[in-house]
Amino acid sequence: MSFRSQTLLWVAQRASAAVLALCVFVHLGVIIYAVRGGISATEILGRTQGNALWLAFYSLFVLACAVHAPIGLRTVLNEWGAWRGRGCDTAMWLFAALLAWAGMRAVMAVTG
């Protein structure tokens, strides 16, 4: 991987962290609102399904996770697992795809 790609990965991880900070904040707010409001699962789904705003928000959340987690895990594996190079990078691409797929599947179930 070129130095430029390595640096861009680093930038992507910082940028996705900033997005995640915001998303987690909103997400926690939504949870507290739903729990304290005592609304049922059916009522929640009634409000989220077909709602483009929630679809967009949670898609962004999932995307940020799919970018952020594999880059961090790559560093952890590099440093603590001594696993470096192409094999590790490929595994991290697959992990990113898995996160995006599983996350989007959940988003579609709730907001689709």
Binding site: M1, F3, Q6, T7, W10, N78, E79
Partner: protein, 238 residues
């Protein structure tokens, strides 16, 4: 101040062991004084390194009670209140013998980080005019007093985890040159300090800054490099 110090000193190579000595305690005694006493009076085969004894040359760094320190300016009173000292070579570097660490890797990384100045002027040209108050000159000021002791390198966990990591001192050195308006090696230098072994690997632990005996902040210099490298990567000039 009187009585004895119980001193355990590392002997041999990486697979060596500690050896115990009793050393008389004096007022204003430095850890280097203790090691020198052992070598002169108790065991002449002890290997260690020092030169200036006044905190300028950077050659006397050792691990004292588990912490990397410059031994010539570390008072025994400060680090061994209970009269016990454990002295070992610096961490994260191969041991040559006893208290002597092999510094090659440390300085090779300075070279890899393009830690040497490259200018264009000759002796026939005049001096470059650099305002001491300029932002870049002040950034240099903050990191230029490094004595190359290796204490920060020995204190940095990332160095242990990532063998390619250039380490705090080499990166800080590169940062001073990035800010040197006379230097012409900068596009390559930024490339040299980018990527997985460069400034991006720093976790901002601040151990280097905490331990640096010259009270420098390699972490701040590395943060500067991160910004410079990021801008270069985004512009496509890396």
């Amino acid at each position: 101040m009187s009585g004895n110090l119980s001193v355990r000193v590392w002997r041999g190579r990486a697979d060596g062991a500690f050896q115990s000595f009793e050393v008389p305690r004096y007022a204003s005694q430095s850890v280097l004084d203790v090691v020198t006493h052992i070598q002169r009076k108790l065991d002449a085969t002890l290997a260690y390194r020092y030169a200036c004894r006044v905190g300028m040359c950077g050659s006397c760094a050792m691990t004292v009670n588990g912490v990397a320190r410059w031994t010539c300016r570390t008072h025994v009173d400060k680090v061994a209140a209970d009269g016990r000292l454990e002295i070992a070579p610096l961490h994260h570097l191969p041991v040559i013998r006893d208290l002597v660490a092999d510094m090659r890797e440390f300085f090779d990384k300075w070279a890899r980080a393009r830690g040497s100045f490259r200018g264009t002027k000759t002796r026939h040209d005049g001096f470059a005019a650099v305002s001491p108050a300029s932002r870049k000159r002040r950034a240099i000021e903050a990191g230029i007093e490094c004595i190359g002791c290796g204490v920060c390198y020995s204190a940095c966990d990332t160095v242990a985890w990532n063998p390619d990591y250039l380490g705090p001192a080499a990166l800080q050195r590169a940062w001073t040159l990035v800010n040197d308006v006379r230097d012409t090696a900068n596009p390559e230098r930024l490339r040299a300090v980018a990527g997985d072994g460069g400034c991006g690997a720093c976790h901002t632990h601040l151990s280097c800054t905490e331990r640096c005996p010259k009270q420098l902040s390699p972490t701040a210099g590395i943060a500067g490099l991160k910004r410079a490298v990021t801008m270069a990567a985004l512009r496509g000039t890396l």
